[in-house]
Amino acid sequence: MWPASWIGLAALVLALLVQPPTALADDARTKALFHELRCVVCQNQSIAESDADVAKDLREIVREQIGAGKTDSQIKTFLVDRYGEFILLKPVLSWHTALLWLAPGLFLIFAFLLLIRRFSSRSVAVDDRLNAQEEQELKSLLKEKP
């Protein structure tokens, strides 16, 4: 139970850390949006970082759309229609990306299940008697020192 709620809380903490709240200023919202859009001709840059002409054009488009009062998701839809999903640095949550987004949670759950199984199966009484080989080793060790 607790890992799941942890993740939720932590995701919230991080989301707020990484993206300043949109209520702050229009400028912060614009910048945050820049960071979520890929400069489609660059190797691996967002339009916030790139100096390429395409990035400049895209920034201008985003500014216009924000000026026109569009919401973030409307702007994204507009851009995806034009450039494809490739432009979104943060992939949408949908069937074709379900595995991607769920992977961390699934892995974590799997790991904890394994752990629980291990602890429950091993909590039975421990056999701490020495086996024959250990007996032998102990004897030889004892021989070394008087």
Partner: protein
């Protein structure tokens, strides 16, 4: 002639590697000491021959011998000598040769320093290293030979300007020392599986090698981050670029390996898991080195991709990773499980560390490969054969990787304070009360005194303080100043084992790094200004004045710099010269940012367009406390080195002969 000598040496090294692949393993199987001992000779020989080969290539670069195709493609006679030499590994072929040279150096190191290893284990380790050497030498000779000749052209095509930097001298060698260093732990894991023997002694041999590889990898990644920060011109320090991710993957699992090997060494538990981590870490290193080369990932690092190599690379990956995992599945059950422990204990904390680190690694792996696999699958399904493309970028990783780190960091100060086998969480919490208080105080102060920034940023600062002070808590507790007084406490502190100090140091480094990350992420400012000569712009408490354009040329580039003065309260405190360069040989422009340090913070300035009327567009960032990011990693690396100097870890050291005592005489 030198070049042919280098080529010949490489072929000889390959022949020796074939011998090393077979003879020591055969000797170990038959119990033949003479066959097993051949590994000691061949590994040193291979190292020598690859060394000669590498030196020959460096020589060809240093003398600008353009009759060598590789030199012609990647060098220029006007390049400064340092970059001529570092250019040797600034391309696919040369970097492969460096990679395999380091592999050979580590293999020779096992022979030279591993005299105290059990004979059979050593032979099997050398055999596994022989397989790797033979495979990669074959790869170089068949698909990536740097010694091919041509009719010499007059001038070379020059090296990618971004790589003409001191960073290239340090970053790849460091990174490769890290990547390839994990080949040793891999070889030990395979050898242990082959023999079916795995005990705490094995972990004691493996841990220093894992530690050495880890600290080189840490240094390499950190160096690469700093290089990208100052070179790429927009002041990012981590981009979640596929190749960065590829280096982060073995770092995450290698960090997990270090911690689980500790449990295995001290408590003989987590054996199977440790072996699996040793295998996975090197597998991820291979993935990191070669996925980049196969051309399936797009990234700034992808130089000289060639589809014909892709298949060879995939075959190598399948062979080593698949083979190792197959052997693991076959043999893992025969390994005896070791010591028991309660969930709340030092072991338990280290298990939590391992779970979170490996989940983080899995997350990064999935995120990095998902676009590639998605495109492959959709192209296979679509009638036109064209795949759909999606991007997985920084926002995804920040949302998934970040939350995994938070519980890890919160738990970090607790771990070293818990006792082995069964810990007392309440007792530990009591010992950390002061640290918790300090962290809360830091949060309150941050809310009170720092204006602007994200609402939750002060919590990040509090977490960093929790880590920094919490990592010192163990030292504090063990010195026990309150009870023993200052002088005894200090003496106790000096007498602590090196591992206690290095644990504290490494964890402290993480805290310092986190503080830098939080500060710069939350409070950096960016200003874009177009200035005419004589005009200035205000950034925080500083003022940047543009004094006009000046030429900034070099031997193989032309450039233009903006001559800037940085003022504080009207007084000039520093000057800056950010510039734009043009490299004619490659027809490539680059941006050279100016970085002015003020304490741990940076004023980061890069030049944009130069307008007709003589004004320039400047992008100026104020990056508060940004240097702490790299300073933190330096602390981590130093802590690693300190731990490595621990006498108990020095496996190369001959066993100290026990002085015969009177007691011995009696025993005889």
């Amino acid at each position: 002639m030198t070049v042919e000598l280098g080529h010949m040496a490489l072929i000889l090294a390959f022949a020796l590697a074939i011998a090393q692949s077979i003879l020591p393993v055969l000797g170990a199987a038959r119990g033949d000491s003479r066959l097993m001992a051949t590994g000691d000779v061949s590994s040193v020989g291979i190292c020598l021959f690859i060394g000669i080969s590498f030196a020959a290539l460096v020589w060809a670069y240093a003398t600008s011998d353009f009759s060598v195709v590789n030199v012609w493609q990647n060098s220029h006679s006007l390049k400064p000598m340092l970059f001529k030499i570092t250019g040797t590994w600034g391309n696919h072929e040369g970097s492969m040769l460096l990679w395999v040279l380091i592999l050979a150096v580590f293999a020779a190191a096992v022979s030279v320093f591993g005299k105290s290893l059990p004979e059979k284990l050593r032979a099997n380790v050398q055999g596994v290293q022989g397989w790797m050497l033979a495979t990669f030498l074959l790869f170089i000779l068949l698909t990536s030979n740097p010694f091919l000749r041509q009719v010499a052209p007059m001038e070379g095509q020059d090296l990618n300007p971004i790589l003409q930097d001191i960073g290239l001298a340090i970053h790849p060698p460091m990174l490769y020392l890290g990547y390839v260093g994990f080949s040793i732990t891999f070889a030990f894991a395979i050898a242990a599986l082959m023999e079916g023997r795995l005990d705490a002694a094995w972990a004691r041999w493996v841990r220093p090698w894992a530690l050495a590889a880890w600290l080189f990898l840490t240094a390499g990644i950190s160096m690469g981050s700093y290089w990208a920060y100052y070179e790429l011109g927009w002041g990012g320090w981590w981009f979640w670029d596929p190749v960065e991710n590829a280096s982060l993957l073995p770092w995450l699992s290698g960090t997990a390996l270090l911690h689980s090997a500790l449990v295995m060494e001290k408590r003989d538990a987590l054996k199977i898991w440790t072996v699996l981590l040793a295998i996975l870490t090197f597998s991820l290193s291979l993935l990191g080195t070669f996925l980049v080369r196969s051309g399936v990932l797009t990234s700034v690092h992808t130089f000289a991709t060639d589809p014909s190599r892709g298949l060879f690379i995939l075959a190598i990956l399948a062979l080593f990773v698949g083979g190792a995992l197959f052997l693991f599945v076959l043999r893992a059950n025969s390994l005896q499980a070791g010591g028991l422990f309660a969930p709340v204990s030092r072991e338990g904390a280290l298990v939590l560390n391992n779970i979170l680190l490996s989940t983080a690694a899995a997350t990064v792996l999935v995120g990095t490969l998902y676009p590639v696999l998605y495109e492959a699958v959709t192209s296979a399904l679509s009638p036109t054969g064209e795949g759909a493309k999606i991007s997985v970028g920084p926002p995804f990783f920040n949302l998934t990787f970040g939350p995994l780190m938070i519980p890890l960091l919160l738990a970090m100060p607790l771990g070293p304070l818990l006792a082995w086998k069964r810990g007392d969480l309440l007792g530990v919490a009591q010992r950390l009360m002061f640290v918790l208080g300090a962290a809360i105080l830091a949060i309150i102060l941050a809310y009170g005194f720092i204006e602007g920034g994200p609402i939750l940023a002060p919590l990040g600062i509090g977490l960093a303080v929790w880590l920094i002070l919490g990592s010192l808590a163990e030292l504090w507790a063990r010195a026990n100043f309150a009870k023993t007084g200052l002088s005894v406490g200090l003496r106790r502190l000096a007498g602590l084992p090196k591992t206690a100090w290095s644990t504290a140091g490494a964890h402290l480094g993480v805290g310092v790094m986190l503080l830098g990350i939080v500060m710069v992420t939350a409070y950096e400012t960016e200003t874009v200004a177009t200035l005419k000569p004589g005009e200035s712009v205000k950034i925080n408490s500083y003022e940047v004045r543009f004094d006009g354009l000046v030429p900034a040329n070099g031997s193989n580039f032309t450039g233009q710099g903006a001559n800037l003065a940085i003022l504080r309260n009207g007084v000039e405190v520093d000057r800056a010269l950010p510039s734009k360069r043009f490299y004619p040989a490659r027809q490539m422009p680059t941006t050279e940012a100016a970085i002015n340090a003020f304490g741990p913070s940076h004023l980061y300035i890069s030049v944009g367009d130069v307008l007709q009327d003589g004004s320039v567009a400047l992008r100026i960032w104020w990056k508060p406390w940004v240097t702490l990011i790299w300073f933190g990693t330096i602390i981590m690396v130093l802590a690693g080195f300190y731990s490595l100097s621990d006498r108990r870890l020095r496996i190369g050291l001959p066993q100290q002969a026990r002085k015969p005592t009177k007691a011995d005489a009696h025993a005889v």
